[in-house]
């Protein structure tokens, strides 16, 4: 795709000798808004707060171009060249290894494209990002927004007030809430505050499962508000809504859209991915906007910033049921990998598992790697043939988790895939090989957080079997212990 500049406007023109792909045009003129132009409200709905490709939308080039010439649609470069490096404007990729080029039939040149966000539609040097410059769609807000009837725990209500404040003042705020604190309810008052002042708000979370779980809960709490639920392949893709719940990846399609973004589980990704998602969040928010971060396990940098007063935050150190978090015990189990190679497990691990099966207590057993877990499975099936194992690529994953819920499986072996998000009411938890580098502080805190979740069974045993204690294990235990003592100090625990 090539453009020429004529009378202060970009004109699509693939044949003229002085035409250029959009990346090579120094500055892209934006025609003034023509108030007499009758714009297409469908385009307005679709492009407000977005950055989309021509391939994403069901409108013709001509119609979009007409809207641009009348000032309603904006063209931005998909890839920019800045400080001697190429940057993908949509995903922020700067790594030269994550770009490639091809002889492009659209612009007729060797065209650079971004491989980082390719799955959301290819952005190349001749690809414009489309946005909206006209008035925003009218939204009717009901007089009473929140219909939720529940009550908050003491810890939740402190955090809830801080969230409301941050949203009203367009500030950043971190809610550091232990696993099982009840994070979602903490957001209700904040969302209400945003919606009653006609702000557009987005909750972004890493996983589709969570989007699917949150949508009905929020729709029930805000029954008269349109909720858009966005994930790969979702039907609401083009829905303009005051309240959006999206996977973090979907934020890449937004540009200066939200007055408030709530980012759930900021720590769930490895650093490089996190960087690109931070980029997405920064671009999806309006220049003045509130950012609320939610996590049970902020990384070390964030923890430091909290302690040194550089980051505004609120902790919810206790669970809603007012019982302390189970503190992991460390048990040395020798060279368990070597034993596994001989089709054996350490005696204390066997004993631990044997006890659960005898006393009919369900348990999750975490392993660092799939092959080792698969080796342990037949050994443990000697105790009970219905024991199962699960990992990320397991096609039966959902089914097995469901069977664990209905107690058809006594014991589930798992990789870190079940470290967060999944809740079983009454289980014990063990990690075999807790010294493996895959078990970071945050992974271990999350894993320990699987135990003692329900009001009726607030206790649970958490055991880290290890072949040499690691710093991460110690930091994880320290974090849990310190949350418990803060809970006692603030009177949030019954014991």
């Amino acid at each position: 795709m090539r453009f020429i500049i004529k009378a202060g406007r970009l004109i699509l023109n693939n044949t003229s000798g002085d035409s250029l792909p959009i990346t090579k045009i120094p500055t892209i003129p934006q025609p003034p808004l023509n108030p007499d132009f009758a714009y297409n409200p469908n385009i307005q709905q679709l492009l407000t707060g977005k950055q989309l490709l021509f391939d994403d939308i069901p409108f013709t080039l001509d119609e979009i171009q007409t809207h641009y010439q009348n000032g309603y649609v904006t063209y931005r470069k998909g890839i920019v060249y800045k400080g001697k490096q190429h940057i993908c404007v949509r995903c922020g990729n700067k790594d030269p290894q994550r770009f490639a080029s091809f002889p492009c039939s659209r612009c007729g040149e060797t065209c650079l494209y971004c491989r980082q966000c390719l799955m959301m539609g290819r952005i190349s040097a001749c690809t414009p990002l489309l946005g909206w410059n006209g008035p925003v769609p009218d939204t009717v807000y009901p007089t009473k927004v929140l219909e939720w009837q529940g009550t908050l725990s003491e810890g939740q209500s402190v955090a809830s007030n801080h969230v409301v404040e941050a949203i009203q003042r367009n500030q950043e705020h971190l809610v550091w809430a232990v696993c099982g604190a009840g994070k979602t309810e903490v957001l209700f008052a904040g969302i209400e505050a945003a919606l009653t002042t006609q702000k557009r708000i987005c909750i972004a979370t890493p996983r589709t499962d969570v989007v699917l779980e949150l949508t009905p809960r929020l729709q029930a709490a805000f029954p008269n508000i349109t909720v858009a639920s966005l994930y790969g392949g979702s039907e609401d893709r083009h829905l303009y809504a005051p309240l959006t719940i999206a996977t973090t990846h979907q934020l890449l399609r937004f540009y200066q859209a939200f007055d408030t973004i709530i980012l759930d589980e900021v720590d769930a990704f490895p650093y490089t991915v996190e960087e690109s998602l931070q980029h997405a969040a920064i671009h999806a928010r309006k220049p003045t906007a509130a950012m609320i971060y939610l996590t049970a396990t902020p990384n070390e940098k964030w923890q430091r910033e909290c302690r040194s007063g550089k980051r505004a935050y609120t902790t919810i150190p206790a669970r809603f049921h007012r019982h302390p978090l189970p503190v992991p015990e460390f048990v040395w189990c020798g060279n368990w990998q070597k034993r596994l190679q001989k089709n054996k497990l350490p005696q204390n691990v066997i004993q631990w598992i044997h006890n659960r099966i005898k006393s009919n207590k369900q348990a999750l057993i975490f392993f660092p790697h799939i092959p080792l877990m698969e080796k342990a499975l037949p050994i443990l099936r000697q105790f009970d043939p219905t024991i199962q194992s699960v990992h990320a690529e397991d096609p039966e994953r959902k089914n097995k988790v469901q069977k664990m819920r209905t107690k058809e499986i006594p014991l589930l072996l798992t990789t870190t895939i079940l470290e967060r998000g999944v809740t079983f009411p009454n289980i014990d938890v063990a990690v075999v090989g807790a010294e493996d580098p895959i078990f970071t502080e945050s992974a271990l805190v999350q894993i320990a957080g699987r135990a003692g979740r329900s009001k009726d069974h607030p206790d649970g045993v958490v055991t880290f079997f290890h072949y040499g204690k690691t710093d991460e294990m110690i930091k994880a235990r320290r974090q849990i212990v310190s949350m418990n003592s803060e809970g006692i100090k603030r009177g949030l625990l019954d014991k």
């Binding site: 391939d55 290894q97 994550r98 490639a100 080029s101 091809f102 002889p103 492009c104 039939s105 659209r106 065209c111 494209y113 491989r115 390719l118 799955m119 290819r122 190349s124």
Partner: protein
């Protein structure tokens, strides 16, 4: 540039662990494009295959083959209209779930650089076949605009060959949306450029996947009628 930068696998983006050993030190270093895990997932077509379409007979039930032919090719060859048009198809890798994903990303998501993954194997195969003309299966104009490049042309160019783009497509509907019978009974979808000299030429058609063989046979029919001596084909996947 960072001289210590590690190479990442073109397919899965994991770091490629360099092979260390005397062979790696003393032999001319071959550029590693993909990691060993992805390499393992690409299964070369080896062993007994259909003598025409290259379908692997390994683990294929007897009822799907007739001697040296697979049932499909047997049916094609029975039909006097199609008999002998496609002399032989060569396919490089088994079209398994893994390759399906790679080709989807390459073709439909438009990840052009993945063409390089197949370059060595294509070069090797084409050198053996010693053709006079390499003819890529064309895309319709709309499809070409949509994808930004022709996947068959890209395979040739990235392997260091020049394509003879003498075919154009008249019909534009997607092949993958049609059944076998619909594909076979389609009117001719291609056109040969008027100025192409095919007399006595040994032609090799290039495409990404061999599915039913109808695309390649339609193209072969046309080229044969225009004077080509023989038509073979090469695809990445079968």
């Amino acid at each position: 540039m960072n001289p210590f930068q590690q190479d990442h696998c073109l397919i899965c983006n994991n770091i490629i662990q360099p092979t260390i050993g005397w062979r790696a030190i003393f032999s001319i270093e071959k550029e590693q494009l993909i990691c060993s895990a992805c390499e393992e997932n690409l299964k070369k077509i080896e062993g007994e295959t259909c003598r025409i379409c290259c379908r692997s007979f390994y683990q294929l039930d007897e009822k799907f083959r007739k001697g040296e032919w697979c049932n499909d090719c047997f049916r094609w060859e029975e039909d006097s209209e199609w008999k002998g048009l496609l002399e032989k198809n060569h396919s490089l890798f088994l079209y398994n779930e893994f390759l399906k994903e790679v080709i989807t990303k390459y073709k439909f998501r438009g990840d052009y650089v993945l063409a390089k993954v197949f370059a060595v194997a294509i070069k090797e195969a084409l050198t053996k076949m010693s053709p006079d003309l390499l003819v890529p299966i064309p895309l319709s104009e709309e499809r070409l605009y949509e994808r930004g490049f022709n996947q068959a042309v890209a395979l040739l160019m990235e392997s260091g060959f020049s394509p003879a783009e003498i075919l154009t497509r008249i019909h534009s509907e997607k092949q993958s949306k049609k059944t076998r019978s619909e594909r076979i009974h389609l009117p001719q979808v291609f056109k040969v450029a008027a100025d192409s000299n095919l007399q006595g030429k040994k032609v090799v058609l290039i495409d990404d996947i061999y599915t039913t063989g109808s695309t390649l046979r339609h193209a072969a029919k046309l080229l044969k009628a225009a004077g080509a001596a023989s038509i073979q084909s090469l695809t990445i996947a079968r």
